[in-house]
């Protein structure tokens, strides 16, 4: 038995893979996990003009044949967009492009945002009913973490974790201490994570200046701006934890925890002053 730990720059952040298993298998297992993450990057990058996502966004309403994992991810994104009342919204790529936060691939007419109904998914293809721009950034990193964990398990690893810039999933007989970076930069201890996933999103206070080291952006719904704070969600899968941090930041304070719970996660409250 051996443990192997590696880190690579992927998905716009630093991705760490840790695996414990039979000595000869740990190297190939870690390689397989990173391979899944590289594939996720290729398929779902909004920046890459030839990713599955960009091909779908640029198809001007025509159906596009997509990778099976893309279709799975679209189904999850659409379902959560609907179930969360669009608090999680994978169709607001247009708003982000107009803001300059995402590149404009010049695919023609563009709506700021849409709804779950704009996404039509068949067995091997999908199309957009209106000119919305999908962005999968809200859950793709978590989903890539889940795929990487699955690859580690499939190659015989008995324990380990994958941490993609704070989107973290732990499996097997290990308890991983987790600290959270708070809004003022300080670290607080969240506890020891076991057999679950955890994700956090930072929403800056209006008074704070942007720090280009942390470029992520959460956009609210029409009437609601995201609340400042660091929002952490615990869930069984990393895609869900990732996606629900967005819901947590946008939900009204009195409904936040219950809404996250209804959608299958557990909110760890923000430590703001």
């Amino acid at each position: 038995m051996d443990e192997l730990r590696r880190m690579r720059p992927l998905l716009g952040t630093y991705v760490e893979v840790s695996a414990r298993g039979p000595t000869a298998a740990t190297g190939p297992a870690v390689a397989a996990a990173f391979h899944r993450i590289e594939e996720a990057q290729r398929l779902w990058s909004f920046h890459a003009p030839d990713s599955d996502l960009s091909r779908l966004n640029g198809a001007r309403g025509k159906a596009v044949t997509l990778h099976p994992q893309t279709l799975r991810l679209l189904r999850l994104a659409r379902a959560l967009t609907a179930a969360s009342g669009s608090r999680f919204n994978c169709t607001l790529g247009g708003a982000l492009v107009r803001r300059g936060a995402l590149p404009d691939h010049d695919h023609g007419a563009m709506l700021d945002r849409g709804t779950a109904e704009d996404i039509e998914i068949e067995s091997d293809r999908a199309r957009l009913r209106r000119p919305v721009r999908l962005t999968l950034d809200g859950l793709a990193k978590g989903y890539a973490v889940d795929l990487a964990v699955r690859a580690l398990r499939k190659t015989g690893m008995v324990a380990g974790w994958v941490n993609a810039g704070g989107d973290l999933r732990v499996f097997g007989d290990v308890v991983l201490p987790v600290h959270r970076r708070e809004i003022d930069g300080r670290m607080t201890s969240l506890g020891g994570l076991r057999d679950a996933a955890l994700a956090s999103s930072l929403v800056r206070r209006r008074s704070d200046t942007d720090d280009p080291s942390f470029p992520a952006l959460i956009v609210g719904t029409d009437n609601v701006s995201p609340a400042a704070g660091v929002w952490t969600v615990l869930a069984r899968s990393a895609w869900r934890a990732d996606a629900l941090t967005k819901v947590a930041s946008i939900a009204a304070p009195q409904h936040r925890a219950s809404l996250v719970a209804r959608l299958g996660g557990h909110l760890i409250e923000s430590k703001t002053e």
Binding site: W161, G165, D167, L193, A199
Partner: protein
């Protein structure tokens, strides 16, 4: 929807909050073997750069070449060049990273591996004896699960600094290594 016992998934731990997060992943020889598995030998070929040469790297890549000396090795098999193994440092606002890039003879990136990762944070150092809680993991330490280096969640730290570093190294390669 099945409710989970969330308390069983996030256990209370002793809160040792260290100001620096550190992990060493690979030594230089390990990273060489990882990035060039077919290579038989790695020849030390460091580059010393004049300020004029550093300016040319900046013009080509848009990025500043901080170091006068760049640590470079030729990866060779049976006397033939397989590519270049280059070690570089990133000193970011929040992070200090040593990484290695493998570049093919034609100037294609073959792989990137982080050798060591250190993340710091603003905010006060809480305890006077903080050094003893320094939770660095070196390669000599066995992984003890209870004392494992804490992982960090929070806003996503961009890896832009390493990607820019690689972009700069590609310019360095194009200017000074291609005919090497």
């Amino acid at each position: 929807m099945k409710t989970h016992d969330w308390a069983a998934l996030l256990l209370p731990t002793i809160a040792l909050v260290s100001p620096v997060y550190a992990t060493d992943y690979l030594s230089v020889p390990q990273a060489q073997r990882q990035l060039f598995p077919e290579a038989q030998v790695f020849l030390d070929a460091p580059l010393s750069l004049t300020s004029e040469q550093r300016d040319r790297i900046k013009s080509l890549s848009g990025l500043r070449q901080r170091w006068d000396e760049q640590k470079i090795w030729r990866a060779e098999k049976e006397g033939k060049l397989q590519g270049w193994f280059i070690v570089d440092d990133v000193i970011g606002k929040h992070e200090f990273i040593t990484y290695a890039a493998a570049i093919s003879p034609e100037g294609r990136v073959l792989g990137i591996e982080i050798l060591s990762y250190r993340e710091t944070h603003g905010g006060q150092i809480r305890e006077p004896g903080w050094r003893k809680h320094f939770m660095g993991k070196t390669l000599a330490d066995p992984f003890k699960l209870d004392e494992d280096v804490p992982n960090i969640s929070g806003a996503t730290l961009s890896c832009r600094n390493v990607l820019d570093g690689v972009k700069r190294l590609l310019a360095l390669h194009k200017l000074f290594l291609v005919n090497g």
